[in-house]
C-alpha cells in the first residue's frame, strides 16, 4: 500500500509495460475459468522501458484466486512442477538420511501445492541449477522456481516474480576469531570465495577491498575451501551464508548485509493468473503474526543462524 502511494510516474510506466505484455497474452489465450477482471485495458508502453526505468522490481501483481489457464493446466495435470535447489542447507536440500527434500523454500512449495491442488505433496521437485532457473521457466519445464532467487531489474524482463518472500543482502562469512570484521579494508591481502556468476562475484569484481578472489561452481564449495584454509572468507547473501554457518559452528556471519535483495517465486511471464494466485498464497503465508506459517518456517529453518527477524517482508504491488 505504502509503496503504491509513493509510486512515481516512471514506475507506473514500467508496470504498465509488464501488464501490457501479460494482457496481450491473456487476450490471445482466453482464460478457462472465467474473467480475471482486474487488469483492464491500460496504455501500452515499450517493453524496454521496464529495464531502463526499473526502480522497484519487487512490486508485483495483486493477489487473485480465480483460475486462469496456468492454474487450470496445473490442476489438469494434478501435480505442481517446482524447480528447487537440492544443495542449499535450510533452504532446499535433500536430507541424506531420509532422502526427503527439506528447507524454507521447500515448505513454501508445499504451501503453494496445497492451495492449488488441496494436497501439499502433489509436487514434482526438479533440481534446477542456478544458471538454468530462467530457461527452465521460459521453456515451461517448471511451473514455479522457488530457489533463493533474487528479484532484479534484469530478471523481471525474462520471468514474472511473486511478491518478495524473503529479504536478504550480501554478507561475509568468516571463521570465529578472524581479523575480518566486515566488507571493508580488513579484507586487504585476504582470499575471498564466491560462487561463479553470483551477485557476490560481481560485487568483488567491482570492489574487492584488496582481497584476492577465488570462484567456485557452487556457493557451498566456498565453505569447503574455507574449512581447508584456502580462503579466509566467503561472500554470499546472508540467507545462504546462514545455511553455511549452520553446517559449521566455527564460522559466523560478520558485519552487516551491505546490499538489499529480495527472494521471489519465479514464474513464466505468460502465467499471470498463477502469479496472482501465488501472491494470494503468500498473503496467507505471511498472515497471523508470530504464529504465521512464515514465522513458523523461519523459526524451524533459519532463526538459529539468521537472528533478529520478527516479521516477513511487506509485499509491494504495482497495480
Amino acid at each position: 500500500m505504502r509503496r503504491r502511494m509513493r509510486g512515481s510516474a516512471v514506475a507506473g510506466a514500467a508496470a504498465a509495460a509488464v501488464c501490457a505484455l501479460t494482457v496481450a497474452v491473456a487476450v490471445a489465450v482466453p482464460p478457462a475459468g472465467g474473467t480475471t477482471g482486474h487488469p483492464a485495458v491500460r496504455p501500452a508502453a515499450r517493453a524496454d522501458a521496464v529495464a531502463a526505468d526499473c526502480t522497484d522490481p519487487e512490486a508485483g501483481l495483486r493477489p487473485q484466486t480465480v483460475d486462469g489457464p496456468a492454474v487450470q493446466r496445473i490442476k489438469d495435470r494434478g501435480r505442481l512442477i517446482a524447480g528447487v535447489d537440492q544443495n542449499s542447507y535450510r533452504w532446499g536440500y535433500r536430507d541424506p538420511a531420509s532422502r526427503e527434500l527439506n528447507g524454507f523454500d521447500i515448505d513454501l512449495v508445499h504451501a503453494i501445492a496445497k492451495a492449488l491442488l488441496g494436497d501439499p505433496d502433489k509436487v514434482s521437485f526438479l533440481a534446477i541449477p542456478t544458471n538454468q532457473r530462467i530457461p527452465a521457466v521460459q521453456k515451461g519445464k517448471v511451473d514455479i522456481i522457488v530457489r533463493t532467487m533474487t528479484i532484479s531489474c534484469d530478471r523481471i524482463k525474462q520471468v514474472a516474480f511473486s511478491t518478495a518472500y524473503f529479504e536478504t543482502g550480501q554478507q561475509l562469512l568468516a571463521p570465529k576469531g578472524s581479523p575480518i570484521t566486515a566488507y571493508d579494508d580488513s579484507l586487504r591481502g585476504k582470499a575471498v570465495c564466491a560462487a561463479k556468476g553470483s551477485t557476490a562475484e560481481g560485487q568483488l569484481k567491482k570492489d574487492s577491498h584488496g582481497a584476492s578472489v577465488l570462484t567456485v561452481p557452487n556457493q557451498l564449495d566456498c565453505l569447503v575451501r574455507l574449512q581447508l584454509g584456502q580462503v579466509d572468507a566467503v561472500l554470499t547473501d546472508s540467507a545462504l551464508a546462514a545455511g553455511q554457518a549452520a553446517q559449521d559452528p566455527s564460522v559466523r556471519l560478520v558485519g552487516k548485509p551491505f546490499t538489499t535483495e529480495s527472494y521471489g517465486v519465479a514464474m513464466n511471464l505468460k502465467d499471470e493468473d498463477l502469479v496472482r494466485r501465488v501472491n494470494a498464497v503468500l498473503e496467507d503465508y505471511r498472515r497471523g503474526g508470530d504464529g504465521s506459517p512464515w514465522m513458523t518456517a523461519y523459526r524451524k529453518w533459519l532463526a538459529a543462524d539468521l537472528k533478529g527477524i520478527t516479521a516477513p517482508p511487506e509485499p509491494k504491488y504495482r497495480d
Binding site: Q86, N87, Y89, S124, Q132, P217, N218, L223, V224
Partner: protein
C-alpha cells in the same frame, strides 16, 4: 700384432726405435711364407675370438632386455595399471557409498578400503623401484603426496553426510575433482612411462645383433680364403684345424640367427597378443570406472556443477566416457572405440568371449542409465536412486558385469603375454655361453691348422 702407428705426438726417442724395430720385423716376416702364415693364423684366431665375444655380448644384451620385459618393465607396467585402476575404482566406490548415505553397505566400504590399500602398497613398491630424478619417480612422489589428502577429503565428506549436511556432497565433489585433476593424471602418466619403458625393452630385445652377424660373416669369409690359399699352395683339400674352426663359426652363426629370430617372433607375439591388448583393456576398464563415477556424482551433485554450455558436468563426462568406450548407444561398438579395439585385438575364445560379454553389459548399462536419468530429470529422485545403486536391475549391476568381464579378459591376456614372453626369453638360453665356447674352439682350431702348415718349414 699390427699396432696402429699413426696419430699422436712424436714419441720419445727410445720408444720410437722399438716401434720402428717391430714394424721392420713384421715387414720382413711378411716377405717369407712362414711369416705370412703366422700373420694369417693370428688374424683368424683374433677374428674368431672377436666373433665369439661380440656374439656373447650382443646376445647377453638382448637376453637381458627380454628378461627386463618379463621381470621388470611388464610387471611395473601392470603395477602402474593397477594403481591407476584402483584409484579410479576408489573414487567411483566412494561416490556410490555416499549415495547410499547412512546405509552404506559393508561391501562398498570394504571395496573402497581395499582399493586404497592396494594403491598405497603398490605406490610404496614403486617408490622403491624409482627415484625422484626419473619421470616415473616424480609421478610416484606426487601420488604418494596426494593420496592421503584425497582419503582425508573423502572421510570428511562421509562424516558430514552422516550428519545430514549437504556440505558432505560438496566435499565429495572436491575430493573427486582432486582425484580427476591430480591423482588420475599422475597415475596415467606413471602408467604411460612404464608402458613406454616396456616398449623400449621390447625394442632392445628385438633389435638384430648386426655387429655379431657381420663379424661372423667376415670370420667365415676369412676362413674360406685361408683354406683356398692353402689348397692353391699345397694342393691339399682339407686342413683339419681350419675345418673345425669353420664348423664352429658356422654353428654359432646359424644358432645366432635361428635363436634370435625365434625369440623375436615370440616377443612380437607377446606384444601383439599380450602387452597391446592389455593396454587397450586397461584403458577400457578405467574409462568404464570413470563413467560409473560420473553417473554416481550426477546424483550427488544434483545440478551443482555445470559445463560452460549449461549442461550437468557429470552427465556430460559420463557421455564422453561412453563415447570412448563404445561410441553410440547401438548394440555394436563403433569403429576405433576402446571396446571395438579390444575386440579386434582379442584372440581365441578365451579372449573374445569376455570382451563380447562386456560389450553386451555396456549396452544394458546405457539403457538403464537413460531410464534412471529420465526418472531423476522428472523429479523422481527416489526412483532414480535405486535404478543406479540398487542391487538388482540397476546400472550398478551392469557396470559390475562390465568390470568383471574386463577383468577376465585382462587375466587372459596377461597369461598370453607371460607365455610368449617366457618363450622368447627362453630361446636365447645358452647362446651367449655356447658362442663363446665354440668361438674359442674355432680359434684353437685355426691356430692348430696353421701351426701344422708352419711345422712343415722347420
Amino acid at each position: 700384432m699390427s699396432q696402429p702407428q699413426s696419430a699422436g705426438p712424436p714419441d720419445p726417442g727410445g720408444r720410437r726405435t722399438a716401434w720402428r724395430e717391430g714394424l721392420d720385423r713384421l715387414k720382413a716376416g711378411a716377405t717369407t711364407e712362414p711369416g705370412r702364415l703366422r700373420i694369417i693364423g693370428a688374424a683368424l684366431a683374433a677374428l674368431l675370438v672377436g666373433f665369439g665375444a661380440v656374439t656373447a655380448w650382443q646376445v647377453a644384451d638382448r637376453a637381458a632386455a627380454a628378461d627386463a620385459v618379463v621381470r621388470r618393465s611388464q610387471p611395473l607396467s601392470a603395477d602402474a595399471a593397477d594403481i591407476y585402476r584402483s584409484l579410479a575404482d576408489a573414487d567411483t566406490t566412494a561416490a556410490g557409498g555416499f549415495l547410499a548415505g547412512g546405509q552404506e553397505p559393508r561391501a562398498v566400504r570394504q571395496r573402497y578400503e581395499k582399493d586404497i590399500t592396494l594403491a598405497s602398497e603398490l605406490l610404496t613398491k614403486a617408490a622403491a623401484d624409482t627415484d625422484d630424478t626419473d619421470p616415473a619417480g616424480r609421478e610416484v612422489a606426487k601420488l604418494n603426496e596426494q593420496l592421503p589428502v584425497y582419503t582425508g577429503l573423502v572421510e570428511t565428506a562421509r562424516a558430514n553426510n552422516r550428519q545430514g549436511l549437504p556440505l558432505g556432497g560438496a566435499y565429495l565433489r572436491y575430493a573427486s575433482d582432486r582425484m580427476r585433476e591430480e591423482l588420475l593424471p599422475a597415475a596415467r602418466a606413471l602408467y604411460e612411462t612404464e608402458t613406454g619403458r616396456l616398449g623400449h625393452d621390447y625394442d632392445d630385445a628385438e633389435s638384430w645383433p648386426w655387429a655379431a652377424l657381420a663379424t661372423g660373416v667376415v670370420a667365415l669369409g676369412a676362413l674360406g680364403w685361408a683354406q683356398r690359399r692353402n689348397y692353391l699352395r699345397t694342393n691339399r683339400v682339407f686342413n683339419h684345424g681350419l675345418l673345425t674352426a669353420t664348423a664352429g663359426a658356422t654353428v654359432v652363426l646359424l644358432w645366432l640367427v635361428a635363436a634370435h629370430a625365434w625369440s623375436r617372433a615370440d616377443l612380437t607375439d607377446s606384444f601383439e597378443h599380450g602387452a597391446k591388448p592389455l593396454q587397450v583393456l586397461n584403458e577400457a576398464r578405467i574409462t568404464s570406472l570413470q563413467a560409473r563415477g560420473d553417473e554416481n556424482l550426477t546424483l550427488v551433485a544434483r545440478g551443482a556443477v555445470l559445463t560452460a554450455a549449461g549442461e550437468d558436468a557429470y552427465e556430460t563426462s559420463y557421455r564422453k566416457g561412453m563415447k570412448e568406450l563404445v561410441g553410440s548407444e547401438t548394440a555394436d561398438p563403433a569403429k576405433g572405440t576402446l571396446l571395438d579395439r579390444a575386440r579386434s585385438l582379442a584372440d581365441g575364445s578365451g579372449g573374445r568371449e569376455p570382451v563380447a560379454k562386456a560389450i553386451e553389459a555396456v549396452h544394458e548399462w546405457q539403457q538403464r542409465h537413460a531410464e534412471a536419468r529420465a526418472a531423476d530429470d522428472s523429479g523422481y529422485y527416489d526412483q532414480a536412486l535405486p535404478k543406479v545403486i540398487g542391487e538388482k536391475d540397476s546400472t550398478g549391476e551392469y557396470f559390475d558385469r562390465v568390470d568383471t568381464e574386463l577383468r577376465r579378459a585382462l587375466a587372459h591376456e596377461q597369461d598370453d603375454f607371460r607365455h610368449s614372453a617366457d618363450d622368447g626369453r627362453g630361446a636365447l638360453t645358452g647362446l651367449a655361453a655356447g658362442a663363446a665356447v665354440l668361438a674359442v674352439l674355432g680359434a684353437a682350431g685355426a691356430v692348430l691348422g696353421i701351426g701344422r702348415r708352419l711345422s712343415e718349414y722347420r
